[in-house]
Symmetry: C2
Subunit: 395 residues, 2 copies
């Protein structure tokens, strides 16, 4: 009775729900503190204090008709200008309000960008492993996902293979760095080479290929590692950003899309992204949240908490004998399953009340993802269970 | 360079922008107080005081991780339950949280409902005049709009003609009452007959036909006129609601969809609407706004202000000799153009710094729409100009 196109989604949805329900069942049975839930990318570090201060100030200062009212579909101009200047200060770019469209989070930003550029059957290249929701976003506009390989040790793009996958059908490439699920951050050299390949391919094929940098984890980089600003390396780049992780506001649905002047037909693309924001039903990003961001543009969550978790989990799992690389960013660790069928490994982990996600949920079987946006105690307390799990596999 | 599907939208967009820019130009030239802008449906009555109180309370009371965090794609369960109980108290329905999906306003609610039910080339019947954005929403899912006629005096549906338009291709019917642009409220008798026709047609054709009641103006009803609750008259009804007008929060993007138990495969439809909310990129309705609504579920904007405007504008225009019906709801008046080509009339009005929207923008040429969500002074001060305009047409 539902639309045919929604049926595969709903079949898949039930699998996810089964996993959630199982987690709930375990917590009810053993107590939440005795279940080690590494399955969800829901930030556990609270929003910085600046957010509350900003809300209180705005409610005192602003006229409610303006604060809660409609504005341009691209968002409040002052908010966009403030964000642009903040990016310019940090990355030496030259953006203004004309380059920023405020969005209902990054997920909506990706959708309106794809709606703006994708014709039916055009291809979007994505490096695996990746966040599988991208598949649905691309399908929303009748596009096709083409998976590109990464090195199975470093999870860096295999750029030679990538170049071979670019055809006249290629309309866009999505990169996500810092990466979900691997935590990898692409180096400047990688981004530069990627841009060179795309420039070359555009000329060779006479097409326009967009690079979409999905950057909800940009601020979550550890050990001083730099996350290159992608528009500086390739002109036809959209940056899709979210405050979900950088300010721990995932439920508020606030983010933006950057459309640089250097992009082909930049003004038309900007207007089309804003119009897509309107007709997909968002209309505009939530107005109060926009004003909050303008006041908190340089605020940040307590990164040390995630960093402490990262080190504790990495050291702990290595001690257990698991094969893992210390991630440079985001709040995920992607480790090799000790058996080929990583779903079997996830099922074994569940016996110890450890909840982790199979790599096949990220187009990368043989690995599992652990989200360490949990309390430090969860990590410490989970270690005896991980030890028993490792022992089962003779590690 | 943009997607082919977006090109017609952008061609149309330029026309709207030209109108906006002209308004801005007039205001810059003559001063905002000397331009009588009846073109926009942007509420001018501020949000009720309860909104600010609720925000301040929530910021003090709630844990930020919960407040700003992800929840179910359908929204916070407590918020949904509170809304359901409020509807039950007012309309004698029997809803619970299982019947409510929180959305990024009504525009997004309509989109996720259409995404849930429409297969390519299926038809959506809409009574003209109507809010033309519906066309884009239906096209987003490759559906087709079929316009149904209304009586040109009362703007009530022509139900005989409507019945003749229902075919095996008909998947949904959209009604919008109180109506934009006419201000008409459908009577209980009309809603009942509409439901009977759909029931009969479903049986006759062996299909499922959904009725979608788009109700952003539900609370804006004057003179004690009742707005029937549509789920009571037809089982396969979605109610799509927004707080944009009832609480003057249009920029905040907060609303909901009602999926009654009586709908066919109600649970699957609920889950699919929630999943559509996720994959269209909204993920969930903004979390702080959800919590605000739960605290303000029975608050309302100052309806008297709109009512005063309604009467002043109606009396004033009638005095001028214009052919108009006093609207029962919303904040629009839809009047007959004194010349067949209403665009000519709109151009003439602009000479007097009066900005109004041609009926052809609502699939109803020969009429014009005036939005009276403006200051009372705007209405009073505009009357000498309306008199001169009327004189031009010998009224």
């Amino acid at each position: 009775m539902i639309a045919e196109r929604m049926k595969p989604l709903m079949a898949n949805n039930s699998a996810i729900r089964t996993m959630f329900e199982e987690g709930g069942r375990l917590k009810a049975k053993y107590g939440a503190e005795n279940v080690f839930d590494f399955s969800l990318g829901n930030p556990n570090v609270p929003a910085p204090a600046e957010i509350k201060d900003a809300v209180l100030e705005i409610m005192e200062e602003m006229d409610p008709v303006e604060l809660h009212g409609y504005m341009s579909n691209a968002g409040f101009e002052d908010v966009r200008e403030t964000i642009a200047q903040s990016i310019n200060r940090r990355f030496g770019t030259g953006f203004g309000s004309r380059n920023i469209v405020m969005t209902v989070g990054a997920a909506s930003g990706l959708n309106i960008v794809l709606k703006t550029i994708i014709n039916p059957d055009e291809e979007v290249v994505i490096f695996a492993p990746y966040f599988l929701e991208y598949n649905w976003y691309v399908k929303n506009y009748d596009g096709k996902v083409v998976q590109a390989p990464t090195d199975k040790e470093t999870f860096y793009p295999d750029l030679d293979a990538f170049e071979g996958l670019i055809t006249e059908k290629t309309r866009a490439v999505i990169i996500n760095t810092p990466n979900n699920p691997t935590g990898v951050i692409y180096s400047e050299e990688t981004i530069r080479k990627l841009g060179e390949i795309l420039d070359r391919k555009q000329k060779e094929l006479g097409t326009t290929i967009f690079l979409i940098a999905d950057e909800p984890y940009r601020e979550l980089a550890y050990d001083g590692v730099e996350v290159p600003y992608v528009t500086k390396y390739y002109n036809n780049t959209f940056v899709v950003y979210s405050y979900s992780k950088s300010l721990s506001l995932p439920g508020e649905r606030i983010g933006y899309v950057v459309i640089p002047d250097e992009m082909e037909e930049s003004e038309l693309v900007f207007d089309t992204v804003a119009a897509a924001n309107r007709i997909n039903g968002s209309v505009n990003a939530p107005s109060l949240q926009q004003k909050i961001i303008a006041k908190c543009v340089d605020a940040q969550v307590n990164l040390e908490a995630y960093d402490k978790n990262r080190t504790a989990l990495y050291e702990g799992l290595k001690d257990c004998g698991f094969d893992c690389v210390k991630p440079e960013g985001a709040f995920y660790m992607f480790i090799k399953s000790p058996v080929e069928d990583e779903k079997e490994f996830c099922a074994a982990a569940k016996k110890y009340n450890i909840l982790i996600v199979p790599g096949s949920s990220f187009a990368c079987p043989g690995y599992v993802r652990l989200a360490y946006c949990v309390s430090y105690e969860t990590i410490v307390n989970s270690m005896p269970s991980f030890k028993k799990l490792a022992a089962e596999y003779g590690l």
